[in-house]
Every structure is written in structure tokens, then in C-alpha cells.
Amino acid sequence: MTDAELAIGDYVEPEEHGLGAIARRRWESWKAGDVGVMPVVVGLCVITAFFYSQNSNFLTAGNFTNLMVQMAGVTTIAIGVVFVLLLGEIDLSIGYVSGIAGVVVAKLTFPDGSFEAKGIVAIVIAVIVTALIGLFQGSFVAIIGVPSFVVTLAGLLFWQGVILYSIGDQGVIVIDDSLVNNVSNYFFSDTAGYLIAAIATGLFVLASLLGVFSRRRHGILTDNPVLVVLKLVGFAAIAFGAVYWANQERGFPVAFLLVIVLLVFWTWVAERTTFGRHVYAVGGNAEAARRAGINVRNIRIFVFMISGAMAGLGGVIFASRLNSVDLNAGGGTILLDAIAAAVIGGTSLFGGRGRVISALMGSLVIATVANGIDLLGYSSAIKFMVTGAILLAAVTLDAVSRRRLERAGR
């Protein structure tokens, strides 16, 4: 505590640094409407407690590993959605674009002697293809100025047509490539799981320490050391806890590790790079961003490429899980689940507010509800109704907090 006080620049008063002051400030911004991921965390706890009280199988390790694999695809797609929503745009094509990636991978790895590709090559090509789809759609939005809603609605129809056309009469293409299939069906051994948790914790500690040292070197307010330590301990507990739990059953799924890596990478992009800063700026006030010399057009196009690429990766995860693609690839509730996940997780539909982690939090809610209702033996009718109600609640909260933020300003 004393060390930290020495490092405080004289611009900010030392009183601001105590735990009490931090809590008070958090509470104030909370009241002003800046709620962040708090509501979804609370909601998640309530949902978990409810289902556990109804059915004690809900918290078993088997169900837990299931849940992680179930939600991997939607979470991946939702990461792309978060970026699009940060701009205040929408991408309705992600469902069938993910299907396109599945078809590309299936066709490329299909052993018919023509141009059989290795699994990893097929996946890379699929993601490039979907990124290019994003580039194409984003160009209409950013250069010509067609509303993204319509461009991607057209994409929704078009890419569905392309999927039906390319799968054709076969109805289904089986994926034989073991690497592709392992994406959703491989589980780490117990030791490997713990090793991963250890490495992740180590990296997190290193990053936190580097951050603290860098701030101290510049003589500005560092985070409260108590909070830093709490964060480190919390991270380690979650990492090792999750691996321990998964190890009781099949082990930690590789698909979920992929999701974590993607979350960390895109969080870094959104919050630590100039590109991410510019995405928030364009979403908050595009005119201000333009005057500040930011190339708004390129930012928009690039975000749609991210959306396409992440939809593609999600599509690979889905295809891998089924070991095949069929005429329904990319259909069903994928699109709505992904958008709902980002919104439920706390990303604003109005642009400029939200975090990449909300993709995980939101799809955790959706997957938990779906999984719990299945366990209780209710029909999917109930599932839809409950998910719909939660989405409505999340959007309402977003609109209310936006109004409060506006009132708090000025």
C-alpha cells in the first residue's frame, strides 16, 4: 500500500486509491448506467442455482464438459458479433457464413482424389474464404453506405443458397479428416490439462506484473495491489478449478481451449491496440473519429472481416462436432444464439460499449439455460421462450443503462 502511494502521480489524489474509494467509484458508475458484465454474472449465478436445486445432475463433471463443447461454436461466432455491435452495426449472415466454412472444409478434405487438402490447410482456407465474404459485405456497408442490416440479410439468403447448391443431392458430406474432427472431439489428458492451466496462470501473472511495473515507471496510479492479487488468485482458481472439474470426466476439451485463446487474443486487440481503440471510437462517435484522422471506412471493413472469419472458425467447430456438414449447416438457431450471446453478455446494440468477454458470458447463459431445460426434460418450446425472455431482459437493460448514461453526462 505504501509502495503504491509513493508511485502516485500528483495529478490524482491519493485518497482515490483505497479499496473503499474504488468500490464507491464502481458503485457510482454503476448507478450512472455503466453496468458492464455485472448483470450477466449475477444472472448466471441465479440460473445455475435454480437448475441445481431442480436437478443435482446439473453440476456434474460430465455435464460441465458437455456444456463447454456445446457452447464453443456459438461463443466463437459471438466474438465476431461483439466487434460488429461495437460499431453499432449488425451482421445477420454469420449463421450461413459459418455453414460455408463447414462446407469448404468438408469439400477440401473429402477423399475423392481431386484436390484433397490436409485438415489444417482446409481450415485455414475456410477461414480465409469467410473473411473474404466479410470483406465483400463490409465493403457495401463502408464504401457504398448500404445499411448493414440489409447487406447481411441479403448475405443470409445468398449463402444459404450457396450451401444448398454445393451440397446438392448428397444431402450430407462426411468429414474424414482426423484433425478437423478432433477440433470438437478431442479432450486433453489430466496432466496436459493441468499443464495448460499452469501456463495460462503464469502468463496472466507475468502480464499483470509487467503492467504494474510499466505504470509505476511512468509515475502514475497503479491498480490497488490488493485487487491485483485478488485477480491473480481468482484467475488461478478458475483455471485450475475448471481443469480439475473437467478431469473428473473426459478431460478439458480442445475446443474450449481454442475459445479461450480466441477470447484472450481478441480482448487484447480490442483493448490494447490502436485498431481496437479506433473500433470503440467509430462506434461511439463516427464523426469525431473521422475528424481525428481515423480511417473509418477501413475500420468498418476490417470489422466485417473479423466477423466473417470468426463465423468461419465457429462453423469449423460445428462441422467438427457432427463429423459432417449437411443441408442444415449454419441454420437453426446459430445466428440468433450468437447475436443474443453478445447482447446478453452486455455488449450494447447502440455501438461503442461492450467487451469481448461478453461473448463468453452470454453464450454461457444461453447454453446453461438450454442444457438445464434439457436435463429437466422440458421441450424445446420452453427453451425458446426462456431464452427469448432473457434476451428481452438484456436488451431492455442495455436501453435503460444507455438512457441513464446520457442523463448522467453534461
Binding site: G9, Y11, V12, E16, R25, S29, A32, D34, S214, R215, R217, H218, G219, I220, R272, T273, T274, F275, R277, H278, Y280, A281, G283, G284, N285, E287, A288, A289, R291, A292, G293, I294, G352, R353, L405, E406, A408, G409, R410
Partner: protein
């Protein structure tokens, strides 16, 4: 004024001579001269449609002038776009501020000019430290935390952030478009004090305002435009509000195209 400055007169930091600009058949600026010196606040006033905004946008490189010359410290320069203007150290704070509400003070101060390393990683600590220094240098102390979202700031604080951003980049000429238009009494006071401090730090400040009270409080000299032409230039200390109002509403052009004119610094 078309002749070289006589000895003993300060060379203006920025000077325009004979600026004309028309939009279709509308002549928005007709042979306008304007100057601002280092360390002074030059007010630019005029009724709606007098050409204030057009002149500023020409100087800022947003509009291309049809005719006219620009001199920076006595040297002839050309302004073809906003980049040229910022290279000359010209920064404009527009009326609508152009701040991003969803970003914090530091992020807004560095918007579009973030410092980063080769991996495009932001150097947050460096930016935060420098933002603190700049605001402190301008005696902007009412902002509780520079990590607070701009949405939660008051109008005066937002104006201070916008001005801070403008002066942060080694700018030498700051143009403020109606900085007090939406502010209450106390906040207007804050912003006018800030405007004075900018001039005291050696910047050339152009203050556009409708509010004569503010102008008489903060400005050293006053340029009046009327219907796209120069109407008068006053020394603040040697004029009255009535005189300025008269120039704004009924001022006679100090020079008329086609007629040879002598040095017509305003009646004082």
C-alpha cells in the same frame, strides 16, 4: 495591410490576405484579410452568414480557397488539406467538440494519434502520464479522474478536454468555434480563463463567438466580418460594445474589390 509589415510591427503568426470563396453563385468570402499574432486572442465576430465559419474552414484546410494567400510567421504557405493545416500547427476545436462519449479523457486526448509500439500495442501509461501533465499545465484541475468517461463530464470539462487535445500536439494556432455557446456562467468563466492561459503560453488563439461579453473579457483584438467582407478590426482596449455591434450589423466594408485601398486598420 497588403504591403509588407513596417518595422516595429509584429509579424503575425498567421495571416491571410485577399481570401475569396464562393459556393456556386454565392460569394461567401470576398477579399478577406485576417491575422492573429502569437500570444494574443483574436476574436472573430459577425452575424450569421458573415463568413466566419467559411474563413475558419479555409484556414483549417477543409475548404479550398478560390483566391487568397496565407502567411505563417511572414512566410507564404499553402494549405491544401487538413494535413497541411496541422503541419502548420493549426488546430480547430469545433462547436460540437467531436469527443467520443464512450471513451475516457486520455483516450479522447489521443484519439487518432495514439502512441503505440511496432505491434500496435498502446502505450497506456505514457499517454496517461502526458494527459495529466497537459491538463495540469492548463490548470484544468476540476476533472476528478482522467480515466473517467467523457460522457460523465460537465460541459465546461468537456470543452477543456477538447481544448487540451488541440494544444497537446505542438500546435501554435488554436481556433475555438463558439467554445462557450452551451455553457452556464461558472463554466463559461472556466473556459474563458483557459482561453487566456493559452495566449499567455504564447499560442495564437482565434476565438469565434456571438457573445460580446465573452469577447470583451477574453480577446485582445476583434475582427468583424459582415456579409463575407472585412468590416473592422478593433483593439479591445480602445473600443466599446456599441461600436462592435454597429460594425457587425451595419459595418461598411473596409476595402472593396477593384478599388485601390490604403492601409485601413479599423477606426479606433
Amino acid at each position: 495591410m497588403a504591403s509588407p509589415s513596417p518595422a516595429g510591427v509584429v509579424t503575425p503568426r498567421l495571416e491571410t490576405r485577399g481570401v475569396s470563396k464562393s459556393f456556386g453563385s454565392v460569394l461567401a468570402l470576398d477579399d478577406v484579410d485576417f491575422e492573429v499574432r502569437a500570444g494574443e486572442v483574436m476574436a472573430l465576430v459577425g452575424d450569421n452568414g458573415a463568413g466566419k465559419s467559411t474563413l475558419i474552414k479555409c484556414i483549417a484546410g477543409i475548404y479550398a480557397m478560390d483566391e487568397g494567400e496565407v502567411y505563417s510567421n511572414g512566410e507564404k504557405v499553402t494549405i491544401h488539406g487538413p494535413k497541411d493545416a496541422s503541419r502548420l500547427g493549426i488546430e480547430v476545436v469545433y462547436q460540437d467538440l467531436a469527443l467520443c462519449d464512450n471513451l475516457d479523457v486520455v483516450q479522447n486526448m489521443y484519439l487518432g494519434r495514439e502512441t503505440h509500439d511496432i505491434l500496435f500495442r498502446l502505450k497506456e501509461p505514457e499517454m496517461e502520464a502526458r494527459t495529466g501533465e497537459v491538463l495540469k499545465g492548463l490548470s484544468v484541475t476540476s476533472i476528478r479522474s482522467i480515466r473517467q468517461q467523457v460522457a460523465s463530464l460537465s460541459g465546461g470539462q468537456r470543452q477543456s478536454v477538447a481544448i487540451g487535445r488541440a494544444v497537446m500536439w505542438n500546435s501554435r494556432i488554436v481556433i475555438l468555434d463558439e467554445p462557450t455557446a452551451a455553457l452556464g456562467v461558472a463554466q463559461t468563466r472556466q473556459v474563458l480563463d483557459l482561453v487566456r492561459r493559452l495566449a499567455e503560453q504564447g499560442l495564437a488563439v482565434v476565438l469565434i463567438s456571438h457573445n460580446l461579453h465573452d469577447i470583451f473579457e477574453a480577446a485582445d483584438r476583434i475582427t468583424v466580418l459582415r456579409l463575407g467582407r472585412n468590416a473592422a478590426i478593433f483593439e479591445r482596449s480602445q473600443t466599446t460594445q456599441q461600436e462592435v455591434v454597429h460594425a457587425i450589423t451595419a459595418g461598411i466594408p473596409t476595402k472593396v474589390s477593384g478599388i485601390d485601398h490604403t492601409d485601413t486598420d479599423a477606426p479606433a
